[in-house]
């Protein structure tokens, strides 16, 4: 596949697995694809909402309740610093959970691709 010659108007239409336009609608309507989308949404939407709320709680609390957030917890370490530090672990945990969940998305996606290949008479 000569790469230089493939600068085409989008969408590229010379990739090996490309199917005719009608196929996309059929795949999109298939139960397998709908299952993939709902599985993804079930993780991504709550995770996104949670992290956005958790993150913006920090500037909101620190900005509007600085006295409260200055409450000392361990030695000179205060609530504000601990909450800020917890954000790092929150981000890492969500990332880790996502990678675990995404392994499942990959499987569902592979099944869909395999089915398309099979319908086309193998790759």
């Amino acid at each position: 596949m000569p790469q230089q010659a493939r600068v085409q108007p989008m969408p590229p239409d010379s990739t090996p697995r490309d199917t005719s336009a009608t196929d996309w609608d059929r795949i999109a309507a298939s139960p397998e694809f709908k299952d993939l989308m709902s599985t993804k949404k079930m993780f991504i939407i709550p995770a996104f909402v949670f992290f956005v709320v958790y993150y913006f709680a920090l500037p909101a609390l620190v900005g509007y309740a600085p006295q409260f957030m200055a409450t000392k917890v361990i030695g000179n370490i205060n609530l504000a610093y601990l909450f800020a530090l917890s954000q790092f672990f929150m981000a890492w945990i969500i990332a880790w959970l996502y990678v675990k969940a995404a392994g499942g998305f990959d499987k569902l996606a592979q099944d869909i691709i395999a089915k398309v290949d099979k319908a086309k008479g193998g790759k």
Binding site: M1, Q3, Q4, A5, V7, Q8, P9, M10, P11, P12, T15, R17, D18, A21, W24, D25, I27, A28, A29, F33, L36, M37, K40, I44, A47, F48, F51, Y55, F56, L58, P59, A60, V62, G63, Y64, P66, M69, A70, G75, N76, I77, N78, A80, Y81, A84, L85, Q87, F88, M90, A91, W92, A95, Y98, V99, A102, D106, A109, I112, I113, V116
Partner: protein, 535 residues
């Protein structure tokens, strides 16, 4: 020859060697723009971290914490959490459905020419502004670090500019990637060493370290001695507008990082979406560790060096290098300075390649020549030429602005444009079937104009200076600011979305709607995604 200069030269020699090696592997668009899509997940993760951790974060955040304590650490938090948006929303669909730029995804089901033209304009705006900010910082820093070696501000800017052009023109994405990787490893190593030295300074008792932060002593402008608890929030962001500014900054980071062109192009350098995901996780581990360590850099500088000393020895941006000098002498100072220099070089190279990719691929090939490359290698040649132009513009503007110019707002502007113009249209084109060309153009234009307009009338550019402030450090408009926040995100991001949604609703585009399923399936399954090329 001074020790920092020797270390700079070593870094330059190594990176030029890599550029020579990469130059033999950069023939063809996919190799030049996307390193043949063969970068491994961990490599790309380190490179993403390298592209992202700019001098603004290494020197800037350390400086803000050293002078304003806890509030500076809030920057650190936002810079990491922002990657959740990249991970959950943008990285994989982009890799699955695009080729070299974010505009590829937009052009998928929309009319390519208007959409690409505007997306390219937005990319060039973000990259150029960000680059000018880095160049001014680089020039000032190099001139300061190499004081006495005869290297002036313009010479430093020209040197940085020429190096970045050489990396990009000859080595393409492959060389840029390896420059990022080396820089990121150096930066992590330097920051780690510095943190250990700070803890060692307090006899490895973290409690003592945090107690020392409780009473940082310095003199205010009137010469009065002040003792402050630097762990307390509110030293920088004060009422009435401080908290809103903080939230607005958070919005620009959380929604802007996922729209930064130089980060997005990195996901095209890996073989598939799964590798793109792994690289985001690698980047998050490095970026998070780095930003937690700013605790030691910033507060260490505040307690061990002290704001008074930093102020008279180069100012806030010198906090981290001065801390290194105080803890381990001139050699370590030279090492940390060389890392700061490497950081700037790597970031400007990353910005240059994203700008030239967008110009060559989006504007030249797809807008002007309707998607047809007239002869093989034309796209890469245009990119190489545009690297000279972009580099030349950045060098010229940085020299004209001078070392004392107030350029911090340019970074805020870059994030605001990325969040207000780029992100809304990326998200809507992936998730909203009804979305169309008019909506995309309206969203891009509104986000771009709102960000620039609000920054122009913000306290960054509009304030009344006392007569003691002279030259480039003076604000552009000498009158009270119309918009009270330094970060426009809180207003410009909703405006970007509203522009995109209203634009969509006033028009109908059946072809865009009929292609939605195709984009949806492609972006979620990787069916028909661009493959890695064999060398």
């Amino acid at each position: 020859m001074s020790t920092p200069l020797v270390m700079f030269l070593v870094f330059i020699a190594i990176t030029l060697g890599i550029t020579y090696w990469a130059s033999k592997r950069s023939a063809g668009s996919s190799a030049y723009f996307a390193a043949g899509r063969q970068i491994k997940g961990w490599q790309n993760g380190i490179a993403v971290a390298g592209d992202y951790m700019s001098a603004a974060s290494f020197l800037g955040i350390a400086g803000i914490i050293a002078f304003q304590g806890y509030d500076g650490f809030l920057f650190s938090v936002g810079w990491l959490v922002a990657y959740l948006t990249v991970l959950l929303v943008v990285a994989e669909p982009l890799r699955n459905a695009g080729k070299y730029t974010m505009a590829d995804v937009l052009a998928y089901r929309l009319r390519p020419r208007p959409v690409r033209a505007l997306a390219s304009l937005s990319t060039l705006t973000v990259s150029t502004f960000y680059m000018i900010a880095q160049m001014v910082g680089a020039g000032a820093l190099v001139a300061l670090l190499l004081k006495g070696s005869g290297i002036t501000f313009p010479a430093a800017v020209i040197g940085v500019g020429i190096l970045m052009i050489v990396y990009v023109v000859f080595g393409g994405m492959l060389a840029t990637t390896w420059v990022q990787i080396i820089k990121a490893i150096l930066l992590m190593a330097g920051t780690f060493l510095l943190s250990i030295l700070v803890i060692a300074h307090f006899g490895f008792h973290l409690g003592d370290f945090f107690n020392a932060i409780g009473h940082v002593t310095y003199h205010d402008p009137k010469g009065q001695e002040v003792v402050k608890d630097f762990m307390t929030p509110g030293l920088r962001y004060k009422l009435p507008y401080g908290p809103l500014d903080l939230i607005s900054l958070g919005m620009a980071l959380i929604f802007g990082t996922a729209g930064l062109p130089h980060i997005l192009v990195r996901f095209y350098t890996v073989p598939d979406a799964k590798t793109a995901r792994i690289s985001v996780v690698w980047a998050m581990v490095l970026i998070g560790t780095f930003y937690i360590m700013t605790t030691f850099l910033g507060f260490g500088a505040a307690t061990i060096v002290g704001p008074d000393f930093i102020k008279t020895h180069g100012g806030t941006n010198m906090s981290a290098p001065l801390l290194a000098q105080a803890l381990a002498g001139d050699i370590f100072f030279a090492f940390i300075s060389a890392i700061a220099f490497a950081t700037i070089l790597a970031v400007v190279a990353g910005l240059t390649i994203s700008a030239t990719t967008s110009f060559a691929h989006d504007f030249w090939t797809n807008v002007i020549h309707k998607g047809v490359e007239r002869k093989a290698g034309e796209e890469v040649m245009v990119a190489r030429i545009s690297a000279f132009v972009v580099g030349g513009v950045a060098i010229t503007v940085a020299i004209l602005l001078g070392p004392t110019a107030n350029v911090a707002f340019l970074v805020a502007l870059a994030f605001a444009v990325a969040a207000s113009a780029n992100l809304p249209v990326i998200v809507l084109s992936i998730f909203w079937k009804r979305f169309n060309t008019v909506g995309a153009c309206a969203g891009l234009a509104t986000g771009l104009i709102a960000s620039i307009g609000l920054i122009l009338v913000s306290p960054s550019l509009m304030a009344v200076d006392p007569p003691t402030v002279v030259g480039a450090a003076r604000h552009l408009f000498q009158r009270p600011a119309i918009f009270p926040l330094e970060n426009p995100g809180i207003l410009s991001i909703p405006l970007g979305f509203i522009g995109a949604i209203l634009g969509t609703l006033v028009s109908r585009e059946p072809s865009a709607e009929s292609k939605f399923n195709e984009l949806l399936v492609r972006s979620n399954t990787g069916l028909g995604a661009e493959k890695a090329t064999a060398h």
